[in-house]
């Protein structure tokens, strides 16, 4: 293979330096925008930038081509500094058709770059995209002809379809296959614009098409298109600007890019290995959680057993059954599925078995916005069951953090005999970031104790219960000092016992309707969860991540809003405001010092992608008069939204 142009020749137009750039690719679902975006991400990450991405899919798999409903987007943020979010405003929008322009133009920074595929702005496509036809005219308005557009943005009209066809006219591919190379042509132009090398993408195309799919002609055509796009930028002189984003100061080491769902799957596999358990992952396909199943299903050589159950309820019941039988039972779902699993999660609370339930949150209620992100299942996770049924709730803060949180969830579930709900969201699940590749040897084993006889179980519990130990009969609810009952596994001689949803007498585990016992067991189930916070290796103290330990304002977040909050607080602090940041990973039980941290600030702001669920908990639990900034638009927070809220609060604090 010959050297790509970026390697063999330097551009004649010297690029201007920038600290960070946000590029969004937008086109039809079938236009290959996710691939183009992924390639820009990989190239930038390998070059040494910090990167964050956010894909935006339509809920329909293939909505009618050319319509706004069918537009698929992929946003890449690459920077010379640490970044925590995929970017508020788009610096460069690549719109492959009128619908893509219509759907995404509002997000482009005024003065930003807009590159459109001019060939696709036909009458038909304009109509499909819903551009109006003025009265007395037969043709719909072409937004590209609107002088307002050219004055607000640096608009580049590039006949991408025709240029790509011209390059590939001798490729031997049919016209449809030729058109499918347009994304690579466009990516080549973007690579020129942002001074990126082509080699990573060329290797990927060769590997995917020539090696794996045995389609060398397709690989060659894509590479040709990619280079042609680059060469067009260089020679056509239509675009008279170029940019370069320097390497970021990232901790040295081996990295790979991971999405939240990939990281979560690897975390579960790791947890299984650390505990010496098979992972039984039973689930029912649901957006945006299905990729966890897709990532786990090929991992059978780790002892991962995946079951695609007949429904959400069966899935959670299978996971509980697997835990009862002594393996790590896990189920994954999204909000509607969690609702269906509620009764079974209550059974896991009652039987005090380990269980990990992953909920990749999406817009609700009901079917809601399946492909969009939201944080509105927090209260469902906390309380969405009949009876007083406390569980552990954890939420990772970034795609890579899904890995560690999955291990923590499994560790708590198995060592404390308790169901754990892990709340990620669509943004974390599909978003990606660089992940410092860990070493397996660095992880602490998950110490799981299964009694091998009735006596060995009660022996451990003797001190806590004042019991003399050594029973002929196994006592399934004989607790240790953490209120944890023994995980006796079927197959163990003389360990026979019966679990179930009926209330059980403490210690013996016999069915009991005794009022005092029910009070005791309800209290114990709560105390068992709260007790976990006493172990700081399981629930570390809440840290102030930025700013002083006391001051005017603490911004307290949880889950996937971490990136936007971090940047917003950084900016507010740069302006001299007394603002600090803390982020809750443990929602139940909360870190032991949470109240102390909150009370040191005059005000607490809780940003959430819901109508104020953590705020309700914090106000109720700590009597702190927290205020919220809340949004449910299917999108992450923009940094500037948070920044202006912070400023309005610290401004008012200063004047009070």
């Amino acid at each position: 293979m010959t050297d790509s142009p970026a390697n063999s020749q330097s551009s004649t137009l010297a690029p201007e330096p920038l600290r960070s750039v946000v590029v969004r690719f937008a086109g039809d679902s079938g236009d290959g925008m996710q691939l183009a975006g992924t390639q820009l991400t990989d190239t930038s990450a390998i070059f040494g930038n910090d990167v964050a991405t956010f894909p935006d899919f339509p809920a329909e798999i293939r909505a009618p081509a050319g319509t706004v409903a069918g537009v698929s987007g992929f946003q890449v943020h690459f920077a010379a500094d640490d970044i925590f979010h995929p970017g508020d405003k788009v610096d460069a929008l690549i719109a492959m058709n009128p619908a893509a322009l219509k759907a995404h133009l509002a997000d482009v920074d005024p003065g930003g770059i807009v590159i459109v595929n001019d060939d696709e702005f036909s009458k038909t496509n304009l109509k499909k995209a819903g551009y109006p036809t003025p009265e007395g005219s037969k043709e719909p308005t072409n937004p590209l002809d609107d002088p307002e557009l050219s004055s607000r943005f640096r608009l580049y009209r590039v006949p991408i379809t025709k240029l790509n066809q011209a390059v590939l006219k001798d490729s031997g591919l049919d016209p449809r296959s030729v058109n499918r190379c347009r994304n690579m042509w466009t990516l080549g132009l973007v690579f020129w614009l942002f001074d990126r090398p082509l080699d990573t993408t060329e290797e990927h195309l060769t590997e995917t098409f020539a090696v794996r799919k045995k389609l060398p002609a397709v690989a060659e055509a894509n590479i040709k298109a990619l280079r042609a796009g680059w060469a067009f930028g260089e020679t056509a002189e239509i675009i008279s600007e170029r940019y370069h984003v320097e390497k970021a100061d990232i901790a040295p080491g081996l990295y790979r890019k991971v999405t939240g769902n990939e990281a979560l799957a690897m975390g579960l596999i790791t947890a299984g290995q650390l505990a010496g358990k098979d992972v039984v992952y039973a689930t029912y396909p649901i957006t945006p959680a299905s990729d966890i199943l897709h990532n786990l299903a090929p991992m059978k050589h780790f002892g991962v057993k995946t079951v695609q159950a007949e429904d959400e309820i069966a899935a959670v019941c299978m996971a509980i059954g697997a835990s009862f039988a002594g393996q790590l039972g896990v189920t994954g779902t999204s909000g509607p599925g969690l609702a269906l699993k509620a009764e079974a999660v209550g059974l896991a609370v009652m039987t005090e078995l380990p269980l990990v339930v992953v909920n990749v949150q999406r817009g609700g209620p009901s079917t809601g916005l399946p492909t969009k992100t939201e944080q509105s299942d927090l209260l469902q996770a906390m309380y969405g069951r009949n009876g007083d049924a406390p569980v552990v709730v954890l939420a990772p803060r970034s795609p890579a953090d899904c890995f560690d949180t999955a291990i923590d969830a499994a560790r708590i579930a198995m060592t404390r005999m308790v169901p754990v709900i892990l709340l990620t969201d669509g943004y974390l699940a599909n978003g990606s970031e660089p992940w410092l590749v860990p070493k397996a040897a660095d992880f602490k084993k998950i110490e799981v104790n299964h009694p091998d006889s009735p006596g060995s179980a009660s022996g451990a519990a003797t001190a806590a219960n004042g019991d003399t130990g050594d029973h002929a009969e196994f006592l399934p609810y004989q607790r240790n000092e953490n209120h944890t009952r023994p995980w006796m596994v079927p197959g163990t001689p003389d360990g026979m016992h019966r679990l179930g949803g009926l209330e059980k007498q403490n210690i013996t585990g016999n069915v009991s309707y005794d009022p005092d016992n029910h009070q005791l067991m309800t209290d114990l189930r709560h105390a068992k969860v709260e007790k976990i916070a006493e172990d700081k290796t399981l629930v570390p103290d809440l840290e102030v991540l930025q700013g002083d330990a006391s001051g005017d304002l603490l911004v307290l977040g949880w889950g996937g809003t971490y990136g936007s909050i971090t940047t917003a607080v950084q900016r507010a602090r740069a302006k001299g405001h007394s603002v600090s940041q803390a982020h809750l990973r443990h929602l139940s039980p909360m870190p032991a010092n949470t109240g102390d941290v909150l009370r040191k600030f005059k005000q607490v702001l809780i940003p959430e992608l819901n109508t104020g669920q953590l705020r309700l908990l914090i106000r109720g639990k700590y009597l702190v008069d927290a205020v919220g900034i809340n949004k449910v638009q299917g999108k992450p927070f923009m940094v500037e939204e948070l920044e202006s809220m912070i400023e309005s609060l610290v401004g008012s604090a200063a004047s009070a």
Binding site: I46, R256, V280, M299, K305, V307, G501
Partner: protein
């Protein structure tokens, strides 16, 4: 340890220390007793045996067995059974359910556990009534059933459990009644079957649906109203064993045995039961004795009891384990560092 040193367990060794709390006279007692006798006959290892149930009168069953047990939630026992077997295929798992638990709230799961052929001994206690909620009609109640919830008679057509089980792909389907001499052998055949063994047991609820199966269980009426299915044997029944079932074209009919010259039918002309013949099993599943208010059998057919169908088929959990074993054989046991380093990694220099 050599087998001879193992203590021989008696039926009562399979009973737990818990007081049995079904209503006096309930058919469940006989089924519990039968299960303990089967366990004794097979010398089941108590520590390797798990009884799983849903919700309902029958679902209290696990509390009364001195084995591992899981009294789960309404209708969902198949999920727990599947999870247990996938996690540990070596356990001997039994599932106890009822007509409401298994065919109303849990109907969906029933279909799926059977088609997957999870290795489970599945006992369906069919009393055609809701007992634990005090007497509403069930999905197997006959149409027109008057209960507290249907004072003018139930409107829904009943579901037929054995037909559903066969249609779902159950690899073993059998039927008996709580009072029948065939209960223990049928349950034992199910326990010995590898795969989902579906055993429907007509069970009398003496409080809310008393005598629902009186004609099939009464000493005087049973032999005329029941045909016992035996593999390789012709379908003969009746107190005097003078009646049989033959096929006229594709239509079964009850005939009187005897000399063809005097209007009787020869034994050779009867259907010979073949429990490996699924079309035959499906036909037999549609035959029912149906009684009017005076106890007259208006369908004319006897109720088939015994093993309707049995086939050998791979169990789900075995196949799951085989995929795991094959993957380990092919790729070696999983290596976490290899997992982390897979995909496009890149190095950021110091």
């Amino acid at each position: 340890m050599p087998e001879t040193n193992l203590p021989v367990l008696k039926a009562k060794d399979y009973a737990s220390d818990q007081d049995v709390r079904w209503c006096p006279g309930c058919g469940d007692y006989a089924i519990l007793n039968a299960a303990q006798r089967v366990a004794q006959a097979l010398q089941l290892k108590r520590e390797n045996t798990v009884f799983v149930s849903g919700i309902g009168c029958s679902s209290r069953f696990p509390y009364y067995m001195n084995t591992y047990g899981f009294h789960s939630i309404h209708g969902r026992a198949p999920g727990f059974v599947t999870g247990i077997k996938v996690a540990n295929p070596d356990l001997d798992v039994w599932m106890v359910t009822g007509d409401g638990d298994g065919f109303s709230i849990g109907g969906n799961h029933m279909m799926h556990i059977l088609r997957r052929n999870v290795d489970v001994n599945l006992l369906l206690f069919n009393n055609r009534i809701y007992g634990l909620t005090k007497g509403q009609y069930s999905p197997t109640s006959e149409q027109g059933k008057k209960t507290k919830s249907t004072p003018f008679g139930s409107l829904d057509f009943p579901v037929d459990p054995c037909q559903v089980a066969l249609a779902a792909g159950a690899s073993f389907v059998a039927r008996s009644t709580d009072k029948d001499r065939g209960l223990v052998p049928v349950m034992q055949a199910g326990a010995e079957h590898k795969g989902s063994a579906f055993v429907e047991i007509y069970q009398n609820c003496n409080i809310f649906n008393d005598n629902a199966f009186a004609e099939l269980t009464g000493k005087d009426t049973r032999e005329d109203n029941v045909v016992y299915l035996e593999h390789g044997k012709p379908l003969i029944f009746g107190k005097d064993r003078d009646k049989g079932i033959r096929l006229l074209g594709l239509r079964p009919e009850v005939v009187t045995l005897g000399d063809p010259g005097s209007g009787g039918v020869a034994e050779d002309d009867l259907i010979v039961h073949d429990q490996t013949n699924k079309p035959l099993a499906m036909m037999l599943a549609t035959l029912h004795a149906v009684f009017d208010a005076d106890g007259n059998n208006v369908s004319g057919f006897p109720e088939p009891l015994g093993v309707l169908y049995a086939e050998e088929r791979d169990c789900y959990e075995t196949l799951v384990q085989q995929q795991v074993d094959a993957a380990i054989k092919k790729r070696g046991a999983g290596d976490l560092d290899a997992l982390y380093n897979a995909g496009d990694t890149y190095t950021i220099g110091a």
